[in-house]
Symmetry: C2
Subunit: 229 residues, 2 copies
DNA sequence: TTAAAAAATGTGATTTTAACACTTATTCAA
DNA sequence: TTGAATAAGTGTTAAAATCACATTTTTTAA
């Protein structure tokens, strides 16, 4: 180990955010059209640079808020991407974060100064630099997370139907799930509250709305439960 | 997003390595006595700084090799630690890596220029900075890895007994496992080859040695299997 | 009134997991 | 040479979890 810090290289540290949303049908990511060179006009994750006065979590929160207006968002550090030539302008290491938000609650507050749009994960366009790799890794982490945390809480509106929850999990896992088995597995987690209220939009019969029980959710969440769908 | 790189802060990017070893009984980590200020004389992970000309994986490999002499080692990026005051000297972000090596094969080649010693994970001493957090996170990742990759390959000598493999998993997971159930679960993975040869050191009767089948190991490894012990 | 659409609901077969104890092979010592 | 000691090796069974699967219900719009 070298014992002098002075002689060491310093680098730019970027933070890029994979922002997942769910619109009752598809899993989406929020992308912006890059408005400066290089790769101006191409699509990219939202990102920014770490300041000396903040840690990475704070930087990710700040960047997300600045470009979208979103606040109080679930974020998790994903991975540090560091290929030497990943950014053609300057040696930059990027620490990727992913965020989970619910599209409906946040679509009005989306900061229109930046040309951000939702894209379906399944047919997302090509992104700049190594951002595609970041997205792929984020999806894979998100799949893993479904088994350890009640992710739906972050991606769904406050009240939702069982079918919506199931569609969310199907979108994340890219596979069809059995309705009855899904319901019983979810119920066995014991984090949902069934409401009296029905959602009449989806069918003639209407379907019961559910919400997460905050307290139970947090309890389960900290215990790192295991959910196999 | 700002469109000029020049005005952004640059930082030192450290790489710290949690080096796991297994000596047939305990899970260990390799620590060094830090030979410069601050915290001189205290124990720390081995570490170094990223150079502009290399990516993080390469830096981790270089640092591991430089301080220990080890080569061809399994390493995996863990997490970026970035608290503003984590290093009192200079704003430094550290990307932690963990490595798996087998103590026997590598104990002679251990570079004696650096005062590196093995410590049992269970009663490890207090480390400098946030290195304890790093170790805790590494253990947790390692536990998760046992369910997705045949980790033993990296930590055990070429030939080993079933009991040694079981002890390794017990050490990683911090729990006793049932002998018979363990064997049948491991066998169902179909990555081991039973040899004619016996290890006569551990008992009067002697126990059969096994080795990993490299080809099957790699096949399984890429498929991300699931092993519940 | 009835046709249509999605919601709600339970069971049984199969697979996986978990708990459990005795016999075998060998060496060392009496 | 005999037997005491040591760890290795080996199957079964009960319980739990998982998976596959089809019919009835409720409502509205035609």
């Amino acid at each position: 180990m070298l014992n002098s810090y002075e002689t060491e290289d310093k680098v730019l540290l970027a933070v890029d955010c994979i922002i997942f949303g769910f619109d009752k049908e598809d899993l989406k990511i929020l992308l912006i059209k890059r408005d400066f060179e290089p790769e101006k006009g191409k699509l990219s994750l939202i990102g920014g640079f770490l300041k000396k006065s903040e840690n990475l979590d704070d930087a990710a929160t700040r960047i997300l808020n600045h470009l979208t207006g979103f606040q109080d968002i679930y974020m998790e550090q994903l991975y540090a991407f560091s290929e030497v030539d990943r950014d053609p302008v300057e040696r930059t290491i990027s620490v990727a974060y992913y965020a989970l938000i619910n599209v409906e609650n946040h679509s009005e507050e989306l900061n229109q100064n930046y040309d951000a749009k939702w894209f379906s994960v399944d047919n997302a366009p090509k992104l700049i630099f190594d951002h595609d790799r970041m997205v792929r890794r984020a999806i894979s982490r998100l799949r893993y997370r479904t088994a350890t945390k009640p992710i739906g809480f972050e991606l769904l509106p406050e009240k939702f139907t069982m079918r919506q929850l199931q569609k969310l999990y199907e979108a994340i896992l890219s596979k069809k799930l059995d309705k009855r088995n899904f319901i019983s597995k979810i119920n066995s987690l014991d984090v949902l509250v069934k409401l009296e209220e029905k959602d009449m939009l989806s069918s003639r019969k209407g379907s019961y709305l559910y919400k997460f029980d905050q307290e139970k959710y947090e309890e389960k969440s900290s215990q790192n439960f295991s959910l196999n769908l």
